[in-house]
Homo-oligomer: 191 residues x 4
């Protein structure tokens, strides 16, 4: 792992525990095993580090989701993969997922450009467009459907984080909730 990567990994761990403000750059540097100066060699400011971390996490998540979707044939199956994949990724990358929320409710969000923002949600946009074109969705605003699905993902994730459930049960619950969600948003006629 090269130095900037090591810095990002360490920053994630510390930000999640102590918050942005509660984490001095000096602590990030020393725990990452580099000097303070090196941190600023790679990230011009602390804010830039925070943003870079967010971007890299989103990137990683997206790449994971793409591999998930690619294993599916039907559109519904793609949704399922996206849904299940998101929840499972969130469960096994607790820190990263928590950080995303943290970031979203902070002034740092404004530092993300429109374009970067669009790029990050491209997969979801594409898939929804596909479903919409195939007339698979209820006659509701597409954005509303997107938001409702996203909410259910974060809902079931939230539930599973608090409980301790066996992997099998967990998988079943996620599938069940996906089916419920799909029933909520899918067009009953073409379903």
């Amino acid at each position: 792992m090269d130095k900037p990567e090591k810095i990002l990994v360490t920053a994630l761990k510390l930000f999640v525990t102590y918050g942005f403000h509660g984490t001095p750059t000096s602590k990030i540097a020393s725990e990452a095993g580099v000097s303070n100066g090196t941190l600023f060699h790679y990230f011009k400011t602390k804010d830039e580090l925070v943003v870079a971390l967010y971007t890299s996490i989103k990137e990683e998540l997206n790449q994971f989701l793409v591999t998930q979707i690619n294993t599916a044939s039907t559109i519904k199956e793609k949704f399922s993969r996206l849904f299940v994949g998101s929840v499972e990724w969130a469960l096994s990358n607790g820190d990263a997922f928590y950080f995303i929320q943290q970031f979203r409710f902070s002034p740092h969000l404004n530092l993300i450009s429109e374009e970067e923002s669009r790029r990050q949600s491209e997969i979801h946009t594409q898939l929804l467009l596909e479903a919409w074109t195939a007339n698979l969705l209820k006659p509701l605003p597409v954005n509303l459907i997107a938001t409702l699905i996203a909410s259910q993902i974060s809902g079931i994730h939230q539930y599973l984080v608090d409980k301790t459930v066996s992997p099998d049960e967990q998988r079943k619950l996620i599938d069940d909730v996906f089916e419920l969600t799909w029933a909520t948003v899918a067009n009953p006629e073409t379903r």
Copy 2:
């Protein structure tokens, strides 16, 4: 409005715009029209101010929801009132709602005691218990149901914040989503 109240109101506005860290107590004080010392007269530390703000907002929200629920007769109607009320309160108290999220994804959350936490969600717990007892819910874990409903509330709110919709349409959308949500979690047999 007395001084501590003025301080809380000002703090909310600033926290939402600049974040906790980005808002010095001195700025809160000056914008609230009180002296630096006065702020610390009412709130021993900045953290205490943050927590007090959170608690007071939750308190206000809960009181509002209680009045909403009280106008309902059936259990489903209570759920509806809770659902719609939550979304509408969130829409007309954007700052407060945003602050709640901000707070939840920050280390400050640890400063809320278990008991306080329980008290804040009492209404929801009560209502779910009622529904459960009346056998109105699907055979899913009650907590999962609670989380799913909460997610949908925040989902529809999220959607409405971004769009600009007429009040009538807005109301209709919220009702629609509630019906979808209710269909998702309610026991079809006793519904």
Copy 3:
């Protein structure tokens, strides 16, 4: 002496010895017997402190020169008082005088507004105008005359700083150089 004044006095001493850069604000504060925070309470930035010091020194010098000029009756005598007064002030306020030069050949000079600059040289401007109106000066550009006089002041000062001369001799030398300078710039006809 109040705190901001004490800070200025200490800063002068240190700047002259170690330069602006070579003098940390922390050293100024501690030698002035105040806390680091107090320094920044009175001067928002280090640059502001530097500028404030410059302005206060120029102010003091000007007030001194005004009292000198006021004891003179003829215009030539006023020039003499200004000349002699400037040299003597420079000799007994070595640090302050050195600081002025230091400041003038630094980027800080740009932080002085046009207006402030004009105000600082008002005495000289006035006196030259008076002499010009009375036709006492050679037909040379007034600004050139001003600059030449100023140069001679700094010349004789420079000389006296390096040598050690008895007060009497010193006074005589300054007078001599003034007469030479006056002969250089004064109109021989009306002299």
Copy 4:
């Protein structure tokens, strides 16, 4: 232009604009088109670079003045050439001249050895000695005369920098001021 020379040229430009402190070595290096390490290959420390720049400028100035003086036959003419040459060099090497002042009022001055200092003013010392021996000067301390001449040089330069004057007028003004200065310091009997 070889690398160390390029570094010196760039450093001059930047020092004059931003001051010593305001100019990082990294900026000098990058603007000079060399790497950070190369700068330190040629100049062990930043201070050494500053001193080297000063020395090289003084050297250049002196060489120029020597060629000027060599075209003169009488002593007064030599003084004239020195005077005029100095002003003209200062005018066409504004940055270099400004840097000299900057350097003189900075702690770096202490890094110049006595001997180096003497060498730099040798021309002036020699010429004054010649004039003194020939009994051409007023019965004033030689050092005072030296200082007064130097002051007038910097005075007329100062004036010409601020104004915009045609080359012819400029040359005439410089000559005039030289004559005035010469009249001030030269022995009227042997003149």
